[in-house]
Amino acid sequence: MDKNTLVESMNADKEILETAKSCGHYAMCKIDFLGCGVCASGLEKHYVSFYPQGRMDLYAALAEGEIPVTRKCLEITEGCNLCGKCDYNCYFSSELRPSKVMKALKAHIADYLNNGGGIVDIPHDGLLVEIKKIVGEEWASNDPAILAAYHHDLCPHVEFHQPRYVVLPQSKEEIAALIRLLRVQGVNYVARGNGASSHGLAFSDGAVLDLSRMKTMDFDEKNWSVTVGPGVSAFEVQKAAQQRGYRVNTAEPAANVCANIMTSGLISTYAPSFGIGADNYIDAEFIGKDGEYFRLNELTAPNLFSFQNNLAEPEHLAICVSVTIKLHPRMSDEAGVLVPFDSLAKALDFSKECAARRIGLAIVILGREFISTFLAPTKGLATDVKEIFSLRLGMPYLVLLTGDTHALRSVRDMGHPLINQKLFKTLYLNIPKLKSSGWLDMLEGVSNDQLFSYLKLPQLPDLAEMALGSSSATLTRDIDPELRPFFTKLYAKPELTNLVWINTFRIYSSRYCRANPSVSLVFYLPIDNALIREIQEGFDAIAAKHRVKGEFGFITPLDCGKRCVFEYDFYFNHLDPEEKVRIQEAAREAGALLDDYDQKTGVIRQVRYLVNRGCCRTENLLYTTKG
C-alpha cells in the first residue's frame, strides 16, 4: 500500500475524520479531572502526541497527506491500549469519542503495514543531536508524527507552520541551555506549559519547548504559598491545595498555571476577592532571551509590572520557569447560589453591589450560552436548557455567587430570589426531565410582582426534590449508552453538583466550545450598564452581519465593582473554510469596535493587548492611561 491509498482509506471514514478534526486542543485528556485516570502512554511519554489529543491530530495529518508513516507514528499508534479512558474525559467536555479514532488509526496503520506500506526514515539533523545532548535522547524529536500535535489549533487567525523540533526539558538549567543553543543557531522557539495551545498563541516554526515534565509543587504553608513548575496545570495545583485545606486562584483546569499567569493573566470568578494580574502571584522566576535567570523580587529584575495598551511585543519576553502563588483559606460553611435575572442590567447592578460591599468570594454573571453549555452533558440537551432557563423560566442571566454563611445571608437579605445548593442539585440532575415536566408549567404559570418569587419558598428545594427525584441516572439518560454507567456514577458524586467545587475546579466550563470553536473577545471595563449594553449590541450586530453565532459569555466584577471583565464569544464551524473567513472579519471588526470605544472612553483594556504581559500590576492594567 502506498501513502495515497492510506490517505484515501482514512478519508473514507468521514465521521472519524470529522471527530479527529474537532479536537479543541483544550488538553482535558491530559488531566485526571474525573478520577478515572488518563492515557497511560501519555503519562509515560509526556509528548502531547501520545495523548488522545495528539492521536486525533495524527489521524487528521495522515488522512490529509500532511505527514508520512514514520517510526514515531507507529509508536504513537501502538501506544494506545484502547482502555477508553479518553472517551470519558473527552465526552464530558466535548461529547467526542476519541477511542473510535484510536481504533480507526490502529486499523488503518495495520492495513497499511500488512499491504507492504513503507516506513519513512527521518533524515539526520545535527541540531537535534545537540538538543538531545541537553535533554536526553528521549525528550526531543523532529519526527512529523510528533510535530503534528504541536502544529496548529482551531484559532482561525493564525497561519500555522510545522515546528522543526519538539523538546521536553526537565529543568530550568536545561531550558537555559536550550535557549542559548537555539539563539546561537538562529532558531525561533516558544514555550508551552502543558504542551497545548488553544488560541493560536504558542506556535513556532522553530522549536516548541513543551514544559509538561516540570511538574514540581512546593508548598510553603507558613508563608501561605505554593511554588509550581511550568508544567503544573490549574487542576493539579488546585487539587493539591484543597487536600491541604486551601484554595488557589486558578483558571480553566487544563490551563497551565505559569503560562496562564504570565501570558494573558489569570481570569477567574474569584477575581472579585483575589484580583487579577500581579495580585495572583508572590514571585516568579524567568529565563530571559539571553538564557539568564531572574526573579521578579530581585532589585535588578526587568519591570514586568508595566502594561502597554498595544500589540507590540514586550521588551523582556522571557520563559517563566516557576511561580509562587498565594494559598487562600477555605471556610467550612462555604456554599454557592445562583441568582436569576431577566436582564443583564439587573444582573450587573446586583454583581456590582456585591463586589462593592465585598459580599461573596466568587461572582460571575453567566449568559444563556454558558448556562446551557456548562450544565448540559450533551449538545442536544444544551438546546433544551437554553430554552428552559432563558425563555420558559425567563432567566437569561444567572449570577453564580459563592461565599460563607454571612455572605449568603447578605444576599438573601438583599431580597433576591435564588437557587440554593439543594435546589440546584435537583434541577441539575433533572435537566432532561425539566422540559416535559409539569413542574416547569406550574412555575411558568406563577406570575407575581416580583420575578421568580417562588424561589423564596423555604420548602421549595425539598418539594422539587420530592417532585423530580435526585437520581443521576436521569441526567445521563441521553448520554451514549456505552458511557452511561460511568457517567451515572460520576454525577452521583457530591462534588459534581456542588456549586463551590464546580466553581473552583471549573470542569464544566471546559464544555464551552463543545458545539463549535469560538473566538473570544475578553476585555476589562467599568461596570457601566449603558456602555456594556452598547458594546454587546455592537457585537450582536457584527455577528448578524457576518452570519456567525455571537453570544454573551460572562462578566465578573473586579476591584470592589469599579471594573469588570467581560467575555463575548463568536462561534464558528472550523470545518467550513468560508465561515472561517467570515469569523476572521467579525473578530477584526469586533476588535476595532473595542478600540473605538477605548478611544472614546479611555477605560477599556483588551486581553489581546495583554498577551505576554499577564503578570503586570493590576492598577497599571485597569487604571493607568500613560504607558
Binding site: 431577566d342 409539569g438 413542574w439 408549567d441 406550574m442 404559570g445 406563577v446 406570575s447 407575581n448 410582582d449 416580583q450 420575578l451 418569587s453 417562588y454 419558598l457 423555604p458 420548602q459 421549595l460 425539598d462 418539594l463 420530592m466 417532585a467
Partner: protein, 387 residues
C-alpha cells in the same frame, strides 16, 4: 369582500375562538385581524383553530395579518382601503391577560397602546358598531355592587384590570368622537363549555385545580416510595385510595368566585350584537357564584384527595405552613383576590337585552366535564392543540 363583515380581534384566544365559532354558526362573514405566532402565519393558526372547533367556515372566514403597533395596522394603502370598505361591526377581543407587574410593558402594549390603530380603522371605516370585550374586574378594587357604568376607580388589583379599565375609557372617548355606537362587555372568570367541557386556555380555575393535582402527585409519589417526608406532615394515602393532604387555603374573607361558562359568554355577546340600540356596558357575570368550599369539594372529589379546608382571615403567626400549603399559596397567589370576591355585579342591563339567558349553575358535573377535558388534552400541551 363586501360590506357587513364583522371584524374580530383575538380570535386565536380563548374567548375570541368561541366567539368566532358562534359568529360563523350564525352565518356571519368574519374578518379576523391578528398576528403570526413565530413562524406560523395567521391563516395557518386559524386553520388549526377551526379544525379544533370542528367547524367548516368556507369562505366566511377571512384572515388579515396585521400589526396593531403600526399605523393603518401595518397594511399598505390598497389593503387598508379594502379592509375599511369591508368593515361592518368591530369586536375587539384581543387582550394580554397577564396579571404580572413585571409584564406591564407588554400588557400595556397589547391592551392599551395597540388600540390606536384599531380605533383608527373604526373611524376610517365608519364602523357600524364597536364591541369591546373588557372584564368585570375593570371595576377595580371595590366592595358591594358594581354597576354597568363607566369605571369609577383608579385602584386596581393588577395591571390587567388597570389596562382594561384604561382601554374602556380610551375606546369610549374615541367612539364618541367618531359617532360610532359602542358596547362594552364585561365577562367575569370564564371556564370551558358547559356542555362539551371544551376549553382553549387553562388558567384561572384550571390553574388552581392543576396546582392541587400537581401537589397531590408530588406527595403520592413520596408516599409510594415510603412516605418519609409526607409522614412528617401528616400526609398519607387512606384505605380508599384517597390522598390525605392537610392543606389550609387562607383567604382574607368569605366571598364567591364569579365563574361563567364560555358558551354563556358567547350567547350573551351575540345577543348584544344582534340587539337594536345595544350601546352601553354589560356585565356578563354570574348571579349566584359558588364559594371556595364548593370548589374545594369538587376538586377533592375529582382529584381523589381530602383534607383541604378554607380558612378565612390571616394565618396565625405561629402556624407554620406545610410544604403543600406553601406551594399552593404561591401557585394561587395571583388569583387570590378573585377567590373570595365580595363584589356583586349589577346585571340589569344585560338582563334587559337577553332576558332568556341565564348563567347555568356551576355543578359538579360541569366541573368534572371541564377538568376531564383539560386533563385529556394535557392542559393544552397535547401535540396538535391550537397554540
Amino acid at each position: 369582500m363586501g360590506k357587513k363583515n364583522i371584524v374580530l380581534t383575538g380570535a386565536t384566544g380563548f374567548l375570541g375562538a368561541f366567539l368566532l365559532e358562534g359568529l360563523l354558526e350564525r352565518g356571519y362573514r368574519v374578518i379576523v385581524l391578528g398576528r403570526p405566532a413565530g413562524e406560523t402565519k395567521l391563516a395557518e393558526r386559524l386553520t388549526n383553530l377551526v379544525r379544533w372547533l370542528d367547524i367548516v367556515p368556507g369562505d366566511r372566514l377571512l384572515p388579515f395579518e396585521v400589526d396593531f403597533a403600526k399605523q393603518h395596522l401595518g397594511l399598505d394603502e390598497k389593503k387598508y382601503a379594502e379592509l375599511c370598505e369591508s368593515t361592518g361591526k368591530i369586536i375587539h377581543c384581543a387582550s394580554d391577560t397577564s396579571f404580572a407587574e413585571h409584564n406591564r410593558t407588554r400588557v400595556e402594549a397589547a391592551n392599551v397602546n395597540s388600540l390606536s390603530s384599531l380605533l383608527e380603522l373604526a373611524g376610517d371605516a365608519h364602523a357600524e358598531h364597536f364591541y369591546y370585550i373588557s372584564t368585570a374586574y375593570a371595576a377595580g378594587v371595590c366592595q358591594g355592587l358594581c354597576r354597568e357604568t363607566p369605571v369609577g376607580t383608579a385602584r386596581f388589583t393588577n395591571v390587567y384590570e388597570e389596562t382594561k379599565a384604561k382601554a374602556e375609557g380610551m375606546i369610549s372617548q374615541s367612539c364618541a368622537a367618531c359617532g360610532i355606537p359602542l358596547a362594552i362587555l364585561r365577562p367575569s372568570i370564564v371556564y370551558g363549555h358547559s356542555r362539551s367541557g371544551k376549553s382553549l386556555r387553562f388558567n384561572a380555575l384550571y390553574y388552581c385545580v392543576k396546582s392541587l393535582m400537581y401537589i397531590r402527585d408530588i406527595f403520592a409519589k413520596d408516599i409510594a416510595g415510603g412516605g418519609e417526608r409526607s409522614g412528617k406532615w401528616g400526609f398519607r394515602r387512606d384505605a380508599d385510595g384517597a390522598v390525605y393532604l392537610p392543606l389550609a387555603v387562607w383567604l382574607p374573607e368569605r366571598g364567591g368566585i364569579n365563574l361563567i361558562p364560555v358558551d354563556y359568554f358567547v350567547a350573551t355577546t351575540l345577543a348584544v350584537l344582534e340587539a337594536e340600540n345595544s350601546g352601553g356596558i354589560y356585565h356578563i357575570t354570574c348571579d349566584d357564584p359558588p364559594d371556595i368550599p364548593i370548589l374545594i369539594n369538587y376538586a377533592e372529589r375529582f382529584l381523589g384527595i381530602r383534607g383541604i379546608r378554607a380558612v378565612w382571615g390571616a394565618p396565625a403567626k405561629k402556624e407554620a405552613a406545610n410544604p403543600a400549603e406553601e406551594l399552593f399559596a404561591k401557585f394561587i397567589e395571583q388569583y387570590r383576590p378573585y377567590l373570595s370576591d365580595r363584589r356583586v355585579f349589577d346585571r340589569s342591563r344585560i338582563k334587559r337585552i337577553a332576558p332568556n339567558l341565564s348563567t347555568p349553575a356551576f355543578t359538579y358535573d360541569i366541573f368534572e366535564r371541564c377538568m376531564t377535558y383539560a386533563i385529556a388534552c394535557d392542559w393544552g400541551k397535547m401535540p396538535g392543540f391550537p397554540e
